[in-house]
Amino acid sequence: MTELMVKENMKSILSKQAITKIQAVIIAVIIIVAAAIGIAYFLLQPSPGPSIAVYAYATTDVVVFWDPSETYSNEVVVFNNVYEQLVRYDPFQDKFIPVLATNWSVSDDGLVYNFTLRKGVKFHCGHEMTAYSVKYSIERNMQGWDGQGPRGASYIWDPVEEINVIDNYTVQFVLKYPASLLTIASAAYCAHIYCEQCTEQHGHDWFYEGHELGTGPYMIESYDKEKDMVVLTKFDNYWGGWEGKHFDKVIIKSVPEWSTARMQLEAGEVDIVDRLPYEDIAVLEQNPDIEIVRTPAYQNMFGFFNTEKYPLNITEVRKAISYAVPYDDIINTVMSGNARQARGPVPYGLWGHSEDLPQYNYNLTKARDLLIQAGFNPDEQWCTLIYTYNAGDEYERRTGELLKSELAKIGINLELRGMPWEEQWGMAQSENPEDRQDIFVMYWWPDYPDPYTFLGPMFHSEEEIVFNLAYYDNPDYDQLIDEGFAIAGTNRTRAEELYIQAQRILIEDCPVIFFFDMQYVRPKRASLKGYVDNPAYAHVVFWYDCYREE
């Protein structure tokens, strides 16, 4: 018995030491953590160095398509600093700026374009940009990297019949039908010129390893797909030179959580954020270190009526609803004033938009009269309509709620349904019009700054349903816009006349609710200078023009 007790006591003494061992470990961990925090507080500064800029971008996947022949997504923000086009479009002066092309001429019939190229431009790989590079790049875009047809936004080159090299620095485009080739060549997607020799050597998959072959002021130093971040570094042999103040490196990273992005902007860790909720913008305006840049965007919001389903196949009903939309309320409460009521489908600031076009205004009396005229009684609930929008989009949802309460006053019950985009679009493409929604809400933005990109894809008659989600079919309208498209390259004035005529028909037929034209609202540090928001290149910051000044 005593032996057992002695043994137990020995064991208990040892176990006491074992316990203190655990305590020792805990204390050690706490010390390490505290030391780390202490060092971090004193050693690391929150802001990146003086010559590094940071752009926080609200969507995920900073780069999706790496091959410049198929770009169609977020990478446009990166690629417009790394690659260059023949020309770029300045909407404020309504002019094309020479970039890789210094001069150009058009034949009288609008079918032949000659471009004089800039001499001494080097790709990041070291080769020189010549007319062969242009021919190769655009032909590859048109054929597709696998020869199976154009990918991404490359369909924009459809009007081109052939490309001829006249000499090293002169390239000629011959078109199948007249089109505005300058606008196409200035597009944010699929209009970039890249090195033909290296592309031939390495091929499509090499791009996806994170390589690029541009002529732009910045090169891609690294892409971290885990951090969803691109690091750009300056290209010393850039043809524009590096006189004056420029950033040496630019970091473009994805920060999908707006509260985190906002805190980083306020702390100076980030120079500019591409978008934040309007409530945060209102607070940031009071902050002297932050500046808000507002620019009319080429982005607008539509509510497509299902014109193939009762009762929206009746024009009076569609017009009545258009008169019941509380446009001012939506702009002031949903968009916090950062929008203007749309006037037709072409947004404010783009040519082809006309302030002379008619507009439906909020007028419940007119709405009621139209319904009565059509044989309905607005004083009792006479129908239910399904309003589909992109789940998670607060603007689309809140607009729906405001619309719902107004439509209730004219006897319409609006059912709001938020869905993922794929599902929403899938529903709109159902075989049977009865299976589809009644009002489809979405935004639109252009592939290149031309009214046809608003008038065509959404309203031209289609055999298969793609984006004409009002299922609108008007041959007169089709003819007008097709004529306008053909003539836009040579006679802009006439094209504009035709487009405006077409819009008059469209507004009268009323296949959509023209909600609003949006504004881009960009919060940035006041110390970031040189930034101009060009709506033709949505969300792109041209970092070569920017610098920081405290």
């Binding site: 780390a36 885990e226 959580e257």
Partner: protein, 340 residues
Amino acid sequence: MKLSDFIIRRALLSIIVLLGVCVITFFIARIIPANPAAMWVGAHPTQEQIERAKKELGLDKPLYIQFLIYMNKLLHGDLGVSIRTHRPVLSDILSFAPASLELVGTSIIIAVVIGIPLGVISATRKDSWVDHLSRLFSIGGVSIFTPWLGMMGQLLFFKWLGLLPVGDRISIDVSIQYPIQRITGFYLIDSLITGNFVAFQDVLVHLMLPAFVIAAYPIGLVTRMTRSTMADILEEDYIRTAKAYGIPSRAIAYRYALKNSLGPTITVLALSFAYSLVETFLIEMVFNWPGLGRYAAFSIISLDYPAIMGVAIFIALVYIVLNLIVDILQAVIDPRIRLT
């Protein structure tokens, strides 16, 4: 049953489980009306591009053939290509999984280090004010909405005190000037192995806030479980006998009672670990953490079915492996349990 027999039997059962996961997720993902071919192409696709994408993605074949093709690729280790990111799903998962594993792993360690002593103290001083306080604390930890806690943490420690970073795994300047060489994908381990102490300390600081926030739930869980199982055991006869022998109460608590009560706690902790790998996606959003949760959430929202299936299979595997380890551990700790 011998250990090797047990493992073999478990492995066979696991294959059936994985097959079930594949079938269910595959067919559910396809029932929802959607057009993955259109998403693959980009912003405003034309009809021809959509048709071509359909053929490329194999979506024009009948559903059961698509399933067989998928299973065939799976057996060769090919999880397909993500429709959203255009990268192989396997490589996506392998890059995002270590971030989640490191984060959740750290939070489990924190939970154990804090929760077990707290539970033991609670159980040994049952119904005292310490006990009541820790019970309040553990219920708070389990009930609190952790993303909110995360945001409050950011407000307090980043905005007001400037002590901790607001998010990310590593500072931008450190990642440029002292880049971590990728060996395992676990930044703490990789930076230590390569002697990159600046990065190690930076990563540790970035881990602190999110790890503690995620630890709230398992701390509550561990404290409660340890307390209740220990409280039961402390009533047992053999404990009374040990006290009668004069063995100090500390020894009784940690050497005898705790070991016996660890069993259920370990099981619950393992499940919490597996669950947290994907469930913490809101916290990953708040802290901009490039983890599996966020990847899974974005894949689900965009109906990226290869990625959804890849994540489902991966998580199923994690559960299976964890359950296996836990069962073996139980048998090791408690000789009364025999592997069956």
